[in-house]
């Protein structure tokens, strides 16, 4: 019982934090950012999974790769979609044939990002209904 009680409290406060975090999602969802990089890099799964406090953040992987000077990463494309449907896209200049393939990936990922955001917004809407 004495061991179970703190577990119960952790569980309850974990959910309270989660609910608060989801509450911020509408604000963050006002714009959507998709960024695609390329470069001559190699990474191991454990860099993504076990590389620090915020272990699954891809930004950390990017930082690690840069710090260890393993590679030069190039931006292929960056897209920002605003809630009013304003879309800005920055694309690497002088695209080679291979880069054009990467741009296709970027556009596919943009579609997927929109769908992910929609899934989250649907969930929040459902929570509020």
């Amino acid at each position: 019982m004495s061991q179970q009680q703190p577990e119960k409290e952790k569980l309850q406060s974990g959910f309270k934090r989660l609910i608060a975090k989801i509450g911020d999602v509408i604000e963050d969802a006002a714009s959507l950012e998709v960024t695609t990089f390329t470069g001559d890099f190699s990474y191991k799964t454990n860099q993504v999974i076990n590389n620090g406090e915020d272990k699954m953040e891809i930004n950390n992987v990017l930082k690690n790769l840069a710090v260890k000077n393993q590679t030069d990463l190039d931006l292929v494309a960056y897209t920002n979609v605003k809630i009013d449907s304003d879309v800005s896209t920055i694309v690497k200049s002088n695209l080679t044939e291979k880069d054009a393939e990467l741009l296709k990936v970027h556009m596919e990922m943009l579609k997927s990002s929109k769908e992910s955001r929609k899934a989250v917004i649907d969930m929040v809407k459902d929570l509020l209904s």
């Binding site: 019982m1 179970q4 009680q5 703190p6 577990e7 119960k8 409290e9 952790k10 569980l11 309850q12 406060s13 974990g14 959910f15 309270k16 934090r17 989660l18 609910i19 975090k21 989801i22 963050d28 969802a29 959507l32 950012e33 998709v34 960024t35 695609t36 990089f37 470069g39 001559d40 190699s42 990474y43 799964t45 993504v48 999974i49 272990k55 699954m56 953040e57 891809i58 930004n59 990017l62 990463l73 292929v76 291979k98 393939e101 990467l102 990936v105 596919e108 990922m109 997927s112 990002s113 769908e115 992910s116 955001r117 899934a119 989250v120 649907d122 969930m123 929040v124 459902d126 929570l127």
Partner: protein, 540 residues
Amino acid sequence: MIDSPDYIVEQLAREKASLPSDRQEIQQHLIELGYISLLKANVVTENEILVAQDHFLADVRSSGYFQASELEAFQLQGKRYLVRRLLREVTDIDEGLCLDQLPREGTVNLASRIIHYRLDLFGLWSHAIDVKYSRINSLSQLQIIGEYAQVSPLEAINQLADIEGFTRRLLALYKEEQFILTFHSPNADRSIHSEELNRRTAFKNQLKEDFGDKSDFFIFLRKEVLKSREKKIDFNFLEKERLNPFKNFVVRLIQIHQWQDGFYSGLLDSDMGDLTLKSFLDAIQFYNQSRERDFIKAHRIIIHVGKGYFLFNALFFLQEYMLEDDPSSLDASQSKVLDVITHNLSEADDPTQVAFQENLEQLKSEVYESPDSAPKERNGLLQRIYYGIKRIVRKALRFAKRIFKWILEKAKKAWRFLKKLFTHLFEDLRNGIVAFADGLKFLLGKRIIQSSSHEGSIVSAFKMDGDSNHLVSLGAVPLISEHVQQVNYSVNAMSFALSIVGGVLKIVLHIVNALSWPMLLFTIIKVYKKISESFKKLEL
């Protein structure tokens, strides 16, 4: 860390690790359908299971028994789920698949396997399941069932997809006396030969109630069989009755009912031995324990006549215990059962909740460490478990109000039933946890999708607000289409996972200050069931 949502993810991972894989069930069904040879049952390798799974999936796709949208909905929960779910549907005998025609002579396909599997359950198949469908072997056996049920061979195989309906049909077609069974178990355990089972009066009274005291059969039994002095008993009659083919078929039918309910875990062999006899007594005691009907003494239903011969009133047994009258749908029944348990949990004080959780843990370990759970070959037969869910859930609805208490008290007579019921609930919990944890990871920014080969890698990370970052290494161009496919699949699966998270949070929002771990687990099961059924109905 104390108030971090990460704690929930970590606890869920621990809970999931304590739940077993579904390998045993998949393996059993693949053997039952002849995709893995019965002779291999005790030594099957992981690779053989994978090959057999793919063979089964190919047969499913060419069978046309499932709609593409249904397959896609199952696939959203992963290939393993898809395989297990389909295997279960195909081997179901509660509300199993109905065939629209019999296979052509000489074919081996899903239909021929289903027919041979069902015949095998009823002890009417002595060949390998994957042999060709033929008039000589397959159709002739279907005709036996057809004659018993007075239907065509095609209708007969479809009748075996609904054992309860099939039983009702036999009860309606045949005279009551056809359900008074005789069996011989000379080596039956002493405890079974107890004094109680030697009492004639209660058994006679039950027969009178079922037949009236004017029927010829009853009069004959009273005068020639139900005698207290052995010398006066007509053992020739009993021996003749024991060999009656229809009555042997009814024995097998009851064995199947008992097996479906978890009372019988021996081989399906039509042998009314100790194990079958004990399963009858266990069932009677269990229903007495439930106190939902009048207490029924075992000797009203079964008696030892003498020299190892028993008389068994299968008419009463089937009508009283094996047929469920509640017309509720499976989803509604399961939902009601979970509602009652969750309600009991929410009203329990902390020490009671802790005790409940501990006993639930014990139940979990027993469900999966049970030696009965691994499919084994013995004497050319398969030792197996019935995994169909509909029947056990309908029964659980009958006892819903008692389940919480039975777990809390570790009720001995109900434990076998609870193990059977919770085999399904733990499995739903496992699937629910996978989806719930997946959704949570996404919300917490921990969802990474990667495609790699020796030439390069692509990594994609999605955040809760939809923002995403992608890394594509120079050599990874050939991986692009695979990666895009993987991301598309993950995003589809994400909408399922987030529906589970949303459904759970909606409930948790109202009870967060009273939330305990077991309450969360039952909530996950409940939401998972509801959402997965609604996704199944979606036209994807």
